[in-house]
């Protein structure tokens, strides 16, 4: 049998294709696909720091579904999403629009506004831990100077979640502003000129031109914010001490996972928490994709 040259070309191309995706797929198979399966298996064992793990069936999941801390962490996480995502979206749109006006000195304002985006979240957490300190923090000192009493930002169970959210928003807006600014710069000036001729004021221009044309970028900001907030960890971990009166009220699913898997070394249980997080994020993602069609306008 003689192969047609075209066929041989195809084969060569396929071979080259496989060879070039091979490094990626070796990595994906080991670190993602195998790891995913391994995690599912681990979640069915009592794996801990040392010793050989035993298979325990669904015991970890039963324990998880009975653990009050799981529900509290879930509730806290949903609250973080409900508080942080709208604030990040609103503030980042606002800041991006302000920076897009193009007043003199915009370059400096822009550089300053972007600083938190390149700052370590760990450092952001420590900076705010100090600012929000009950006894010696600058913020309570400011409140006291105004005649308002001190607030236990980081240890009052009623306040701590909002304080953490505030820090997250402060650190999270910056990055999204960069994304939105690019989106704004993609909107043609001609739309605004046409609107001005029709007599539309800036508010109307914002409502009927900026918002719809920016909606793909806003959608992107929303999706990434939801994913980021869902996995909120760094700030809580560094800002709230363990066994403080603020611990339970600020604990997120990701910190819950970290505490169980890598502080208490109940890795099997931790693996089960990770599976629960996976299922939740999957649901949220599907929901988003469905809702997206309702309000995001694409050009094509």
């Amino acid at each position: 049998m003689r192969k047609r040259p075209e066929n041989r070309l195809r084969q060569g191309e396929a071979l080259a294709g496989y060879a070039m995706i091979a490094p990626l797929f070796i990595g994906l198979i080991v670190f993602y696909i195998f790891a995913f399966g391994q995690n599912i298996y681990d979640s069915l064992t009592n794996k801990s720091s040392f010793g050989v793990p035993d298979f325990v069936g669904f015991a970890n999941y039963v324990k998880l579904l009975r653990a009050p801390y799981f529900y509290q962490a879930l509730q806290n996480t949903l609250l973080y999403v409900a508080i942080c995502v709208p604030l990040v979206v609103v503030f980042s749109v606002l800041v991006a629009v302000l920076l897009n006006v193009g007043v003199r000195g915009t370059g400096i304002y822009r550089t300053l506004a972007f600083l938190p985006a390149v700052t370590l979240p760990a450092a952001i957490a420590l900076m705010w831990k100090w600012l929000l300190n009950y006894e010696f923090g600058l913020i309570n000192a400011g409140l006291n100077a105004l005649g308002i009493g001190s607030v236990a930002w980081l240890s009052d169970p009623k306040v701590v979640l909002f304080a953490v959210s505030m820090v997250f928003v402060w650190g999270g807006v910056s990055y999204q502003v960069i994304v939105l600014l690019a989106g704004l710069q993609g909107i043609s000036r001609s739309y605004y000129e046409a609107a001005r001729i029709d007599g539309a004021n800036s508010l109307k221009q914002f409502r009927y031109i900026t918002l719809p044309l920016l909606s793909p970028s806003i959608f992107f900001v929303m999706v990434t914010s939801i994913i980021n907030v869902f996995q909120i960890f760094d700030i809580i971990y560094l800002i709230i001490p363990q066994y403080s009166s603020g611990t339970a009220a600020s604990r997120s699913l990701a910190t819950f996972f970290f505490e169980e898997a890598f502080i208490k070394f109940q890795k099997g249980y931790g693996a089960a928490i990770a599976v629960a997080m996976f299922v939740l994020i999957l649901l949220v993602t599907l929901l988003q994709l469905r809702l997206q069609k309702r309000w995001v306008h694409y050009d094509e």
């Binding site: 294709g17 995706i21 390149v118 900076m127 100090w130 006894e135 994304v179 928490i273 694409y298």
Partner: protein, 277 residues
């Protein structure tokens, strides 16, 4: 014409005001961090607080640098960032090229699989990743910090988009000149997607720099920690001496801020690119 410009200027003051407030809110925590880092413990716990330190002394920096191997934190962080970037650029650009330009069986399936991984939260891989590192005897090494991070579905997706945007005629011309597929990729197309590579490099470097959980988990020895994990060590057992904590934080944040100021344009373009569908 003049009057229009003047009118414009007079209407910009609310924008200026808003931007000034915004800048203050952004800058204040950094300024307070720096001011505190020069204070003594006694000064830092005085209420109401004095804004400026009585004497600008470097004692806190001296203590923090003496207690913690910051030179190793810097080295580990930048080595980790460099290797993550390099690894991701190689692995993802090759795969991105193959997915964009080459035909092979099961391509769609493999690409979808790749995309599906984007949806999975990272926590689900951490326990197994840790065990893989232990099995490979790689924990407490710099390799452990970057190895699992170079296989990026996101990077592949992003670069594939860019390869797709290049005209087909380039490949055909090169093919006639006798280039193989790898040659086309390496010599013809790769230089053309340089802006995308720079963007990916910056995004990857930034994400690697910021990550806390993985470095905290995989490396236990103090001299194998990144800046991010090193900062978690600053909260001491006996007292929390905030001037020292702030000095440590200041030592951890300046390198990336400096890089940002130097390459601001690239940073902004890199981040902006991710938002474009």
């Amino acid at each position: 014409m003049m009057s229009k410009a003047e009118r414009l200027r007079s209407r910009t003051w609310p924008t200026h005001l808003a931007l000034v407030i915004l800048s203050l809110v952004t800058l204040a925590p950094f300024v307070w961090m720096l001011l505190t880092s020069f204070k003594t413990f006694e000064e830092s716990v005085r209420m109401p607080p004095a804004i400026l330190p009585e004497a600008w002394q470097l004692e806190n920096y001296r203590i923090v640098l003496g207690k913690f191997p910051f030179h190793m934190f810097y080295w580990n962080t930048f080595a980790m960032m460099g290797m993550t970037v390099l690894g991701q650029l190689i692995v993802c650009s090759m795969a991105g090229y193959a997915f964009a330009r080459l035909q092979f069986p099961a391509k769609e399936f493999l690409f979808t699989l790749c995309l599906a991984l984007l949806m999975v939260p990272g926590q689900i891989f951490l326990v197994p990743h840790y065990d893989i590192m232990v099995r490979l005897k790689l924990n407490d090494t710099i390799t452990a910090l970057w190895l699992p991070k170079i296989f990026s579905a996101f990077g592949t997706f992003m670069l594939r988009q860019f390869f797709q945007g290049l005209p087909r005629s380039l490949d055909e011309a090169a093919m006639i000149d006798g280039s193989g597929y790898f040659g086309i990729y390496a010599r013809i197309l790769l230089p053309l997607v340089k802006p995308a590579l720079v963007s990916l490099a910056i995004l990857t470097a930034l994400a690697a720099f910021k990550d806390l959980m993985w470095p905290l988990i995989v490396n236990n020895a103090m001299d194998k920690m990144t800046l991010s994990a090193g900062l978690a060590m600053l909260i001491g057992e006996h007292t929390t001496i905030y001037p020292q904590v702030m000095a440590g934080s200041a030592l951890a944040v300046w390198p990336m801020i400096l890089l940002f100021l130097m390459f601001q344009k690239h940073f902004i373009e890199g981040i902006a690119l991710t938002g474009i569908k």
